[in-house]
Symmetry: C2
Subunit: 481 residues, 2 copies
Amino acid sequence: MDFETALAEILPMQALLTTVEEKRPYECDGLPAYRAVPRVVVLPESRDQAQAIVKLCGDYGVPIIARGAGTGLSGGALPLEHGCLMSLAKFNRIKHIDPDNRTAVVEPGVRNIAISEAAAAYGLYYAPDPSSQIACSIGGNVAENSGGVHCLKYGLTVHNVIAVEVLTAEGEWLTVGGAALDSPGYDLLAMINGSEGMLGIIMQITVKLLPSPPVARVMLGAFGAVQDAADTVAGVIAAGIIPAGLEMMDQLAIGAAEDFCHAGYPREAAAILLCELDGTTSEVESQLEQVQKIFELHRCSEIRISNTEEERQRFWIGRKSAFPALGRIAPDYYCIDGTIPRRHLGFVLKRIAELSQEYGLLVANVFHAGDGNLHPLIAYDGNEDSQLEAAETIGGKILELCVEVGGTITGEHGVGVEKLNQMCVQFSAPELSAFHAIKDAFDPAALLNPGKAIPTLHRCAEFGAMHVHGGKLPHPELERF
Amino acid sequence: MDFETALAEILPMQALLTTVEEKRPYECDGLPAYRAVPRVVVLPESRDQAQAIVKLCGDYGVPIIARGAGTGLSGGALPLEHGCLMSLAKFNRIKHIDPDNRTAVVEPGVRNIAISEAAAAYGLYYAPDPSSQIACSIGGNVAENSGGVHCLKYGLTVHNVIAVEVLTAEGEWLTVGGAALDSPGYDLLAMINGSEGMLGIIMQITVKLLPSPPVARVMLGAFGAVQDAADTVAGVIAAGIIPAGLEMMDQLAIGAAEDFCHAGYPREAAAILLCELDGTTSEVESQLEQVQKIFELHRCSEIRISNTEEERQRFWIGRKSAFPALGRIAPDYYCIDGTIPRRHLGFVLKRIAELSQEYGLLVANVFHAGDGNLHPLIAYDGNEDSQLEAAETIGGKILELCVEVGGTITGEHGVGVEKLNQMCVQFSAPELSAFHAIKDAFDPAALLNPGKAIPTLHRCAEFGAMHVHGGKLPHPELERF
């Protein structure tokens, strides 16, 4: 029996997509520069079906790529042409909310924001908030260890997940983590978070819920120099204040956001900071006072503080729509995700400006300044010769710059296919070997999302001589499968 | 050339111990029920020496057991008779304190408290505080993922370590983690924490430092019923308050502590709670008020609050000396370490009292109530026939009870050799297989502290039919090497 026929015995007709037209919507995720139509798309709706599919893929040696909502930005859910793409969209139930222990047990296809909506009845919410939180699903959040504006104070996905149940490459159910603070055995939970579907398929997640803060207010500060804004960020953190969010936008981003949604940002500013503080009324007031002093110390030219919830939302709207806003001023843009030690913010922003000039492409900066997580948006026109290549070159150089100053090549978007080369810059051969050993331990036949996240040593040896082209699968690992 | 001769080429004479008299002090750690004199003890003092030793052990197929201060309570540093015991005592330098980023880079042999002492100059400290913090070393803390009174609020060792450098089984240097909030690649840092020297030898640690809280005060509450104290613990946490410490002692422990150090605890109480709150003056005052109401709601018969730092220290002295105090009323005691969901505290304490009666051995309870981490101390006389066996039986039953109510078999002491059987209760075969696969990935020749922490499936199959005797190595895995 061939693979497709065997699948048809497990799945109803509408859950098994085999024609190109049906499969096309799954050819890419949120990084559309890379595309591949998979051999087959499956949409299981029961645990038994999912388990049977994984076992079948094992028997037939067909690689399997799990997909949540497809909003990932590094190509983690990019299909393989010879692979089986498994959508987990139908696993969308919130199975249990436990207000006493402040946890929720959810299926992987549940949308990020749906958890907070369901928990609101108990005065609780789920803290990590990727910009795509209306659409992205919690399984994908765990697979990529997603971040968001509020992760500065409340941690990334990995800090808010206490247990995960995965389907292993052998089709076994494996529970990692649990309700207790510590548990015996190797602590594999952090490793599963951010493992991009390469160690197991995430089928159930237990998340922490937090009590909704009684008060949240935002301070918006305008600065005449980027360096002043950067120094302010360092000053706030050094003062021992951990804001709920501390975001920075530069002039290009401010202008684009204003044109798009008229949030009322000061257009003339070289940079603005948005600093959210939450807690009790007295906590927030005392911290606002401290933060205001630090803003003023660094020549902040204008300060506004939200007085109502409606005003707070308005302060954020420009920041939250910065990506689509930039889409209006350039046909295409490339969003970079790197992290640097906060003290190098000013230097790195200056180098980015120089790269922008050198290659003649606009670069807007919108980012999680508080945790040093940069998101330069490189504007380009894909129809103009060589602009995509220039954008990719700038992007690569920015990431290498991040590593150079002691940072990392990703803050919250994952490695996927996008950053395989930069992994060679970040890690040494023994480090990459350790990652491969882990992968082999969980998936000796290399059937779970193979070729993503961890470059081969061979690839790293060639990196530098090699040229990355956008478009169709330039990755030797991906072609191997 | 034989192994010892090869070692002598790497190490000066005084760093290589080969006679039984020299090796005897290393025959056990803080779990003296298990002892073994190792083939050789080495005390390297440079990174090159340590690396050369590991490579030599690999060449000769000699297992290698790393040892810090030897204060571990689960036998994680128990030698193997055919193995090489490597003491890391000479790696005791604090290499760098970075007050801006609030981190310290330290060698593994640095004592836990020495980090806080060195950081005090900057108004900073290292939060996790095992009871043995005067003696225990940070490398061992990482290897066992140690806890302490303040871990309720500030997290276990794993939550306070941001990077670790290990020597791999192949003698390569591997850095795991880094300064950024997230980094690409599998997140192996949590896995290294608590891996009991089985995945790599911890040679350098970067820890987080915290600002010393402006104020810390302790509330001591006396309760006429253990259940009331247990309900109070649940009530405090449910109110959203995270005390810096929340400890419980039962009547037997109170009496022993009073006899030993006259802390002024109310002897007639069935249980006392010690609740430490820290932060700004206004924060602490407002929380003390809330906590007092919760204490009173659960029939607390007496409340005292520390007004001075000296008084705060006095409140803690009885708790901190509870272990030696119990040593005065019984020739031997066996300290159990299990964790349960807080809501089952009352039930589990009742079952422990029943087990105490059934086997005719006193059991005192002193524990980290806030995070549900129990430390029943089973008093026995090793010279009386069968008392050690009875103590071990009670201990085993308590741990199985912990698992039964949804908890775990260890909170902060690790698995070591002590809890190999209980691991069979805690984990399923696929889970244990995942652990073995990880071990194989890092250490295919099984030379790093083999036989600890993770039982073989074969052993688990036999567990139940098997009887554990204290004394000399009852563990088949250990005998294999």
